[in-house]
């Protein structure tokens, strides 16, 4: 029993990292008034890049860095399209997801001649705490980093002047502009920051956790991160909680089949596992439908700011 709790907790802390990082990043972006649904694409592209670099250099930290840079570039692209070119933010995000998927698979096939998965690469080592004989508590250092980043983001958004300026852009950009805030620049930087954090989360997927790039490395996690943003009511602290809840669903989808297999060895688990894989999505949908009613989003979210 205790073993279950320990392993479930530590797994949740491992699984939640991309959801928290991308969630916090998108909170910053959306608080400034820009919506980026290309998170999924950033996950795919940054995890792919991290895998290549780690494969080539053998250094997972370089991989992590490269993935983060990819996220930065993606943020720059979305920022330019959404803020300066006044493009439709949703369509641009959808397009980016398709583009990122296409480029990554193209790369996968070209470089490794594989259609399903890349070879394994070295990972960032986990941190282990030995509780007693046969019982260890294992998390990734990025689990801690994600929580710290979320707390930092919360403090910055709500307790500093620059955070106030950013939030003004998302609530009422005309007033913000009239009060001297450079709305375009602020929104652009917010989008880039969101991209950086999401890129970090994506790189973590391969280089900090799974250990290889697969065709379905993200499998909708970018969108679960979006659900986390709404669930957290655009508050980075709540994004930690949300990340853990959604991450827990993900954990269940793996653990339940294994447990059931152990208890009922005659059940054919390999195919039944597919059913369990639906848990994170049903869970997310349930949470979004039942709990998020009162959420208050930034007033000017998603509308391009048009000056005369």
């Amino acid at each position: 029993m205790i073993e279950d709790i320990i392993s479930l907790t530590s797994s949740t802390l491992i699984y939640m990292v991309p959801l928290v990082l991308a969630g916090v990043g998108e909170i910053i972006t959306e608080r400034s008034g820009v919506v980026n649904i290309g998170l999924e694409g950033i996950f795919v592209l940054s995890s792919f890049t991290a895998t290549i670099i780690t494969f080539a250099t053998g250094n997972p930290y370089l991989g992590l860095l490269s993935g983060t840079i990819v996220g930065l570039l993606a943020g720059v692209l979305h920022g330019i399209v959404s803020v300066y070119l006044r493009g439709n933010q949703i369509i641009a995000g959808v397009g980016f997801n398709t583009l990122a998927y296409g480029i990554s698979i193209m790369g996968l096939v070209t470089i490794w001649k594989q259609h399903g998965a890349s070879p394994s690469v070295s990972k960032i080592p986990m941190i282990s705490l030995k509780i007693r004989e046969g019982l260890t508590f294992t998390i990734s250092p990025l689990s801690i980093a994600a929580i710290l980043i979320a707390i930092g983001a919360w403090y910055w958004l709500f307790k500093t002047t620059s955070g106030l300026k950013l939030r003004a852009c998302g609530e009422d950009p005309k007033s913000a502009e009239a009060m001297g805030v450079n709305v375009f620049r602020t929104r652009f930087y917010a989008t880039v920051v969101g991209g950086i954090l999401t890129g970090l989360g994506g790189a973590y997927l391969t280089v900090g956790w799974i250990g290889q790039f697969t065709r379905h490395i993200s499998a909708g996690r970018g969108f679960i991160a979006l659900a986390n943003v709404a669930f957290s009511n655009w508050n980075p602290l709540m994004a930690i909680v949300g990340g853990m809840i959604f991450g827990f669903f993900d954990v269940l989808s793996i653990y339940l089949p294994i447990k059931i297999q152990l208890i009922y060895p005659e059940v054919k688990i390999t195919t039944l596992a597919y059913l369990f894989k639906t848990i994170p999505y049903i869970g997310t949908l349930a949470v979004v439908s039942l709990i998020i009613g009162r959420a208050r989003m930034p007033r000017a979210l998603g509308k391009p700011y048009i000056k005369e």
Partner: protein
């Protein structure tokens, strides 16, 4: 006027041409002396707001030069203007509605590059408020405050930034007469402190009351600059409009018929969940115009939307031509003879759709076969009728209505209801934002409709319009009808007092 005053603002030969071809300003020059209250007068569309937005750095002039206290300046955005000591109070305030007043002050301060703590801002604000003599609750959320207080917060914000030049754009359009008096008191105090004030308005009375000099614009051009004391209201009106303005429309006495609309004890909530209409009852008869006067925001919009069926009713009854429609849909009410022309063209029209598609909006049932197919030929016939009756100028029936001028768009909205031959017309702000020609046309149209026996419910914040057109007048204040009677029983002064909540 004998001392040598400094020229605070000089705008020389300013022109502004927009990407879509509209010429907003052509060669306008303006000089404002330090410490004067300078009026900027003109009708809607004359270019007053555009000129000031150029001064404020919001818009770049296509041509021309600006000098502040003798030095040439070129602004890239409002923050430049703010740093040079210019502040602007718009009709729609630039306060973030979901933040508190203090957070807004904080935001405006630090955006100009100064690092100040919130406690310092609080201290400075309280000091300034004592000096000038007005109060603003610093910790209240802006959107919860009454408009007059929000405006004060806006002015406070600007003064805290050490503004020397204050621009006010139609500040009294959202105030009651009492709040207007308070505002003028404040402005006079600021003038004593040496602040230069530019006061944009289209209200002649205000120009005479508060300004030292006034510049008049018409259709983007400069008509002239005069000393307020040396001109009369009629002179100003002539400068503004360019021809003798007949302020009275001749109309025959009303021939009133049977009751066609009855509203009984209506209670309606606004978008924020607060009570906007509190127990309103009124009757409307054939052949009359009932004008509902009141400052924007006292429930008129919600009342009218409830009658049309667009807004749900909490309590009360609505009866159209002896049929209780309280629980009936909008479409059913339209079909029973109700027509509604909303105050906003954004609501009444679909800008990206063609003229034909727009006239079909409330005439859908006329062009539908039983199999629910739309007969566009028939719809075009209706559109042609509208264009003929209302003399609409449009490039084509199939061009999107966004290419029409405001006046023509309004004509489409009104005309489409007229061709339906309804019994009841509900019109809100029918001439808002229109030029004099279109305004006259629409008002004459309303009177001729009334002469034909239609019942008209007119909602307008323009007192002149109410007084010109109405046979009977009702005043709304804070969701209630505080007075109702024949038009002759109301003078402008009495209306002003009632609108401000004073029993008169």
């Amino acid at each position: 006027m004998s001392e040598e005053k400094r020229k605070a603002v000089e705008m020389l030969n300013i022109s502004k041409i927009y990407p879509d071809g509209v010429v907003a300003l052509r060669n306008v020059s303006l000089t404002v002396y330090e410490g004067e209250i300078h009026g900027l007068l003109g009708e809607n569309g004359a270019g007053k707001t555009t000129l000031m937005r150029i001064l404020y750095g919001e818009i770049k002039p296509t041509k021309g030069e600006i000098r502040l206290f003798g030095r040439k300046v070129s602004f890239h955005g409002p923050w430049d203007a703010i740093r040079h000591g210019i502040g602007m109070v718009y009709q729609h305030f630039t306060l973030v509605p979901t933040f508190t007043v203090l957070e807004n002050l904080h935001l405006s301060f630090t955006s100009v590059g100064k690092k100040i703590s919130e406690s310092m801002i609080r201290r400075n604000a309280e000091k300034l408020m004592k000096e000038i003599g007005f109060e603003v609750p610093l910790d209240a959320i802006v959107e919860d405050l009454p408009i007059g207080v929000q405006q004060r917060a806006e002015i406070l914000k600007i003064l805290l930034r050490k503004a020397k030049i204050l621009i006010l754009d139609e500040p009294t359009s959202v105030l009651t007469p009492i709040e207007t008096r308070e505002l003028f008191k404040t402005l006079k105090k600021l003038k004593e402190k040496g602040i230069t004030i530019i006061f944009i308005t289209h209200k002649l009375r205000e120009v005479k009351e508060i300004t030292d000099r006034v510049t008049v614009l018409r259709k983007g051009r400069l008509v002239g600059t005069v000393e307020t004391a040396k001109v009369s209201e009629i002179d100003l009106a002539r400068m503004m409009v360019g021809r003798e303005v007949f302020l009275k429309i001749s109309k025959k006495p009303a021939k009133v018929g049977r009751k066609v609309l009855e509203v009984v004890n209506l209670w309606v909530k606004d978008d924020r969940g607060l009570d906007a209409v509190r127990g309103v009852s009124l009757d409307l008869y054939e052949g009359e115009i009932l004008g509902i006067a009141g400052v924007q925001g006292n429930g008129q919009k919600e009342l009218v939307e409830a009658i049309a069926g667009i807004r749900p009713i909490i309590k009360g009854r609505i009866v159209v031509d002896n049929v209780d429609v309280t629980n009936r849909s909008t479409v059913e009410r339209y079909r029973l003879g109700l027509a509604y022309v909303p105050d906003s063209r954004l609501v009444g029209l679909v800008f990206d759709m063609s003229l034909v598609e727009n006239t079909t909006l409330t005439n859908l049932h006329k062009v539908l076969t039983r199999a629910k197919r739309i007969l566009w030929d028939k719809a075009s016939e209706i559109a042609v009728k509208v264009v003929k009756e209302l003399d609409v100028i449009a490039p084509s029936l199939n061009a999107p209505v966004k290419y029409l001028s405001g006046g023509n768009q309004q004509k489409v909205m009104v005309g489409r209801e007229i061709v339906r031959e309804p019994k009841i017309f509900i019109v809100a702000e029918p001439t808002h934002g229109l030029d004099v020609g279109a305004t006259e046309f629409i008002r004459k149209t309303l009177i001729s409709l009334r002469d034909k026996g239609k019942a008209i419910l007119l909602v307008s914040t323009d007192l002149d319009e109410i007084m010109q057109l109405s046979d009977r007048i009702a005043v709304m204040y804070e969701g209630k009808i505080v007075a109702i009677g024949k038009a002759g029983e109301f003078s402008i002064e009495r209306l002003g007092l009632l609108m401000g909540g004073v029993k008169a």
